[in-house]
Amino acid sequence: MEAGGGGNLTGLVLTGVEVQQNGFHLGPVSLAVAPGSVGALIGPNGAGKTTLLRVIAGFGPRPAGELALDGERLNDLPPERRGIGWVPAGLGLLAHRRVEENVRYGLQLRGDPDARAKASSWILRLGLERVAREYPTRLSTGERQRTAIARALAVEPRLLLLDEPTSALDANAREELIRTLRELLAAESIPMLLVAHDAVTAVSLADRVHLLHGGRSRFDGPLAELEDRPVDRFAARFLGYENVLSAEELAAAPSGPLALRLRAASGPGGLAAPAHALIVRPSGPGVEGKLLARRARGRTVLVEIDGLRLLGQAERGSSLPPVGSGVVVEVREEELRGIPGEVGTVADAS
């Protein structure tokens, strides 16, 4: 999602897009999604992700800045003339029309003479043939989601917007939908911008992520880059860092050897440490602590050191003492990530 200002770029290009609604200010946001690629919007609740998607789709107040799709300025176009497939979080299916009628709806509006055949083809592609004659209320969440996507794609949009497409799905249905979206992406060379509710969706689908926080852009770039340098505590938690500590928490911890090392590694916004940065073993060199809990499967353990409760990993091959016993923890400082967000400006995402 490289920000770009050129009007000749294909795909979606946002340049300094800003919007003010009910006291909430979003932006300026600059991002780009090229045809055939996927951008993911991430951020805590209330960050403005859905607002941004709605603004791109043509809903809500008119934004400042430049919104362009395939080089065409969108700002003044009504939603029906933007050529954007919009799949809201609640899906917006027409409850009084069957699945087949929902998929056909946009084609009918365009007076497409092949509406029926095209709708049938999309129903087949999305695996909805078994439920094509059903009303949306009779479908599973996954089937409803696929109906909404089939309906949006049937009209051959120039951009597909999906608001939290996987958030209401269980793990299996989520995997299935991600697989479907990847297949569609490979076949249809259109840009896709989605709100990713979880790291799995973002990792599986997105080429780049755009992090919003409190209506402000905090990061735009490849996910791996954000993983390596989480810009705020939300990003660190979203990306699966098991230990995310604020600077205040670290400052308040008793000044033992571990707390001092963590403080040294932390940034103004705190510290992110994956479990594998803290190797826990029964004895040997390292900082002394207490084993508080262990999982039945896997090697993740909860330890308490210097008043801090942290998730670490049991050393491979070592056998830890019972819960409540003393252990030692080796810190892999190269795995610690200081969070650059300034104290007081990065809202806590928890």
Binding site: A57, E80, A89, L93
Partner: protein
Amino acid sequence: MNLGARLANVTPTVLAGILSASLLALFLLPLLALAEFATPAGIWKEGGDPQFWTALDATLLASAIAVGVSLLLGVPLGYLLARKNFPGKSLVRSAVLLPVMIPHLVAGLALLLWVAPGTPVSRFASWAGVPLVYSIWAVVLVMVYVGASYTVLASELSFRRTDEETLEAARSLGATPTDAFLDVTLPTASRGILTGAVLTWARGVSEIGAFLILAYAIYPAGPYTGTVTSPISVYIYNLYGLNLRAAAAAATLLVLLALAAFLAVQLAERWGRLPWRRGEVGT
């Protein structure tokens, strides 16, 4: 579970059952008394009276027109109240409630003074081809006045429940605001609008107070000189003044016809998947 706990579990249901049965008895027993007094022979005889059917025809025609007018004028108002903000909105809503709140004799008096023969409204109505004297239009006017509020209020409630995301999805698929209204807003609100229309119809059919007040304006030569344009309620009231048993028979016949219509709708809902039930769970 001990006896006390069982009783505690059962008692609310039993109590609710007794109270419900009392209310149902209150609903049904007077009607049974009415039917008993009317006697089957009396009902049969009334069924053969062409005046009864003329009055019923007039009622059905006038109420159908009144429902049509209420839908035409009331649904847009319900939509505006539900979906738009404008100055004086709460005053408009109060005005809609007025006909429901005021006694119907008062409504009748107000209408009488407004449309009586010789008033500008009466002259204008005659000029416009909808004369209010010796015609069905005065009956329609009364029915709209006392019943249209229900269509407005039920429409407003239904339009408030329109799903924004469905509207937005439809727009992004190419629907203009008018398409979206016709394809999304109206179908989702249709059941509520229908409920409002049924209430408007029922209110119109059962109206009597305003008709009695207006009767001398509608029928200057005397209120009961003919039933060609007088509704069934006036017809029954007229009979009540002359022959109580005949009035009871006509009333019973009307109840039986209403029950038959109600049953027909119930069966159609069960068997026929009526259009306003499309997409509901279980259909």
